[in-house]
């Protein structure tokens, strides 16, 4: 009976609550449907405004690089979509016209609702039913006159969050869509080199992460001193003419995760490096120059062209030419400082007449930007036959080796991301320099 009483009291209370007049004002002035309708209208106008030209940084999924699309939204419901990527038109620039709409769905949704050959290739199921799995409908999360933030709709329904941005694209800077992609191609080529290993991301606190596979735009990261296998991670990215954006913030970097910092967008700096636009301090650069000099796959090379060496290097080189003529009756063609992968050593490599020769030197990294050379003519493998005969018969060749192995050299490059060419300048006599390239 006590239970029955309790039940009665509960029902009475509920009935009173239900009948109580609402004392809370509506937060919104309009109904949800009206607000959604307004959002649809507002975003429709925003997309078409000021020429309606936007750059979409598109990611189809979390495993592939991102691709740029220029979209010009027209008043009549058509959209011109341009791109230049490997999956469309054999990688050549391509543009197609189709239709678009902003519809009321999961909030306002931007839909590219008829097929566009430039764009929908990433949504095609292909033969496996999945294809790239890319979206063609996007929930509009927010937007202003410069940027619209989107989220893939179908991928969201499948549990993946793929957030994209569209930024306003200047017609002054890029009069045509093709202009943009021409510049993007040039920027992409100059920004990174697939021959350079170990790019470096340095956090605000100075912690360094080694980055590789950067030209594939599927970057790998691991803390300096660690390894990709043990504590590494991956993040796909997209490159634009202004910088680089990772698909998601780099939350696997403990420092960002702990401080709730979303490091995702980077801008190119005049020296080629990338500075994080989100925290203003995280930077991505190439490896230290001495490390770079040490990377054997690059095969750094000094060629004896004008301007690629200076000071005593020039003087001694001219003496070599003269002495070679006198001794061998030949024309000395060139002298290089290059890496011999077979012997894993640097060498002075020359061609005199029709003969080539090598003199092998040792190199040592002094600090991040300093190297030094040494040479022991008695050491096994110090020469090949022609190298030895030239070393023995041409005093100027000995002088060249001695000059190279005197003191330390400072390495410098204008571009810290792709440090090619790199200048090697004698610390003791700054007029003595050589320019190395790979």
């Amino acid at each position: 009976m006590k239970k029955l009483f309790n039940l009665s009291a509960l029902i009475l209370m509920l009935s009173m609550v239900a009948c109580a007049p609402s004392e809370v004002d509506d937060i919104f002035d309009e109904s949800p449907a009206a607000r959604l309708d307004n959002a649809v209208k507002n975003y429709t106008e925003l997309l078409k405004s000021n020429g309606g030209r936007w750059l979409m940084q598109y990611f189809a999924n979390g495993d592939e690089e991102g691709f740029n699309y220029i979209m010009t939204f027209h008043e009549d419901g058509s959209v011109d979509i341009s791109t230049q990527n490997a999956y469309v038109n054999d990688g050549a620039f391509y543009s197609d016209k189709s239709t678009w709409d902003v519809v009321a769905d999961y909030g306002p949704v931007l839909s590219f609702n008829t097929y566009n050959k430039a764009f929908h290739v990433f949504s095609s199921p292909q033969s496996d039913g999945t294809g790239h799995g890319g979206d063609y409908e996007f929930i509009i999360l927010s937007g202003d006159d410069n940027q619209i933030n989107l989220r893939g709709k179908k991928s969201r329904g499948k549990g993946a969050v793929i957030d994209l941005i569209m930024t306003r694209l200047s017609s002054t800077e890029y009069p045509t869509d093709e202009d943009y992609f021409t510049q993007l191609t040039a920027v992409s080529k100059a920004a990174f080199s697939d021959r350079i290993n170990n790019y470096v991301l340095t956090t605000g606190s100075g912690k360094r992460y080694i980055c590789n596979d950067v030209t594939t735009m599927i970057w790998s990261f691991y803390p300096e001193g660690g390894s990709l296998l043990d504590n590494g991670d991956y993040m796909n990215a997209i490159i634009t003419t202004k910088g680089l954006r990772f698909m998601e913030p780099l939350t696997f970097i403990t420092e960002y995760d702990a401080n709730d910092v979303a490091v995702q967008n980077f801008e190119f700096q005049p020296d080629g490096s990338l500075l994080c636009a989100d925290d203003g301090v995280t930077k991505i650069t190439g490896p230290a120059l001495a490390d770079l000099f040490h990377q054997p796959q690059l095969g750094w090379m000094l060629s004896s062209k004008d301007g690629e060496f200076g000071g005593d290097f020039v003087t001694i080189y001219n003496q070599i030419v003269t002495e070679a003529k006198a001794k061998y009756k030949t024309t000395f063609n060139w002298l290089q400082l290059g890496y011999d992968a077979a012997k894993a050593k640097y060498r002075l490599y020359f061609k005199n007449g029709k003969y080539t020769g090598s003199i092998y030197v040792n190199h040592e990294i002094v600090d991040a930007n300093t190297i030094k050379f040494s040479f022991n003519p008695e050491a096994e493998g110090a020469f090949d036959n022609n190298g030895q005969s030239h070393y023995n018969n041409l005093p100027s060749m000995q002088a060249m080796v001695q000059l190279l192995c005197t003191g330390e050299y400072t390495l410098a490059a204008e571009n810290v991301m792709v440090s090619n060419p790199m200048t090697m300048t004698s610390k003791s006599n700054p007029s003595n320099f050589v320019v190395l390239s790979f």
Binding site: I11, S111, F112, Y115, K154
Partner: protein, 414 residues
């Protein structure tokens, strides 16, 4: 009694509470919260001409919403799909009208019949729906007779009217038949014809020739009665005379397989309608070898031979005292070891048709089913199935590039 009192009291309390709750809700309804959306077409729209044509030819006439601008929420979200191209959507819209809606109007004498029973939504999808697990490809879907979805539109060739007829318009005829038999049921005699021979679970794995011989027109038709009925109707209308000739041929044959019919890998079983005896030795079933139809040549007298193949002598082949070559059985052979007849010609390998042991006269059953469907259309709906078929086939055989251009001009013209 105390227990009953408790239940009765509790019930009364809940009833009182419910009444008190409901009494609070007597507020007058305000204006609709939904915005007033105009359905007028914008003359400045990029797709205005097409939209106007669709309105005038589908919406106004058949109360049908022709959806060519894809919205994912109108599809099965488990599939990755792409929208149709605008140009293909236009082609399919005019062709669907010409090949389907106009046919029914022509035969029924008005648009009202299709308006009353036709689908309310026709949706286009550019890609097929591919099931990643099974690899099956869907090019047509229908949902309760209300909505028909035509897929793989971006791959269609508008000049290949045969393929369009088979892929798309067949689907529409099929679904339309469903709508009709949901109003006036499938005749009982049809329902009894193939009872016991349907396989709702494994119809996909059945061999097409075998299902023909069982009196079904397609594998899908062998799944259940209502699909059988719709498939008979749709295929009778859309399949050409040549295609039907093939069905009749296969329906009259016997089938055998050298695989395991009880295995789970039914769909990969190969069925044969012909066999021969190795070494021409019919004394043992072990010598019986099945061969594919394309290897078989039919003679004028109705017998069959193995195309370009001849009887080989049984080894060893030796040279007789007369200088001729003979096989182990004493048959005269040529130098290559082939047995020769008395005229010195090589002897073809005789081929035999597989005996039809399924106990079903596939041809008679198919004829019976078509007749029932034909009668049902006539008596229940006043539609002549043969007239529908003839109208469709006429449009198929007379279709050409000029006709397509003429149809397109309905949209793009002026």
């Amino acid at each position: 009694m105390k227990k009953y009192f408790k239940y009765i009291s509790a019930f009364a309390l809940v009833a009182i509470a419910a009444m008190s709750l409901s009494s609070c809700g007597e507020k007058s309804l305000g204006e609709t919260i939904f915005p007033d959306v105009s359905d007028e077409l914008d003359p400045n729209s990029y797709t205005y001409k097409f939209d106007k044509w669709l309105k005038e030819n589908y919406l106004d006439v058949y109360n049908l919403d022709f959806q060519y601008k894809l919205q994912d929420n109108e599809t099965n979200m488990n599939y990755n799909l792409e929208p149709a191209t605008l140009s293909n959507a236009v082609d399919l819209a005019v062709l669907a009208k010409y090949m389907w809606f106009d046919v029914y109007e022509e035969v029924s004498g008005s648009k009202e019949f299709v308006k009353m029973y036709g689908p309310r939504i026709l949706m286009l999808v550019g890609s097929p729906a591919i099931n990643p697990q099974s690899g099956t490809i869907i090019v047509g879907l229908a949902e309760g007779g209300i909505k028909v979805t035509l897929l793989h539109v971006n791959n269609m060739n508008p000049m290949n009217i045969y393929a369009l007829n088979g892929d798309y318009f067949h689907t529409m005829h099929h679904e339309f038949t469903h709508i009709l038999h949901q109003t006036k049921s499938i005749p009982r005699e049809f329902q009894l014809i193939s009872l016991g021979r349907y396989d709702v679970n494994n119809w996909q794995s059945r061999n097409l020739g075998v299902v023909h011989s069982l009196g079904f027109v397609t594998q899908y038709g062998s799944s259940e009665i209502r699909e059988d009925f719709a498939e008979i109707s749709a295929n009778y209308i859309t399949k050409t005379d040549e295609e039907w000739a093939r069905i009749w041929l296969e329906a009259g044959r016997g089938y055998a397989t050298d695989g395991d019919e009880d295995s789970e890998d039914m769909e990969n079983l190969v069925y044969y309608c012909f066999y021969y005896f190795e070494n021409n030795d019919a004394t043992s079933d072990e010598n019986k070898k099945y061969i594919e139809e394309y290897r078989v040549q039919e003679n004028e007298d109705g017998t069959y031979i193995y195309r370009n193949q001849y009887q080989r002598g049984v080894t060893p082949i030796t040279t007789g005292e007369d200088g001729n070559r003979y096989d182990a059985n004493g048959n005269l052979c040529d130098n290559a070891g082939f047995v020769l007849d008395k005229n010195g010609n090589r002897i073809p390998i005789q081929v035999f048709p597989v005996e039809d042991k399924d106990g079903v006269d596939g041809v008679a059953i198919l004829e019976q089913k078509i007749n029932i469907v034909r009668t049902w259309f006539k008596e229940q709906w006043g539609l002549d199935l043969d007239e529908i078929r003839n109208a469709v086939q006429h449009r198929v055989t007379t279709f050409d590039a000029a006709k397509l251009e003429e149809l397109r001009q309905q949209v793009y013209g002026e």
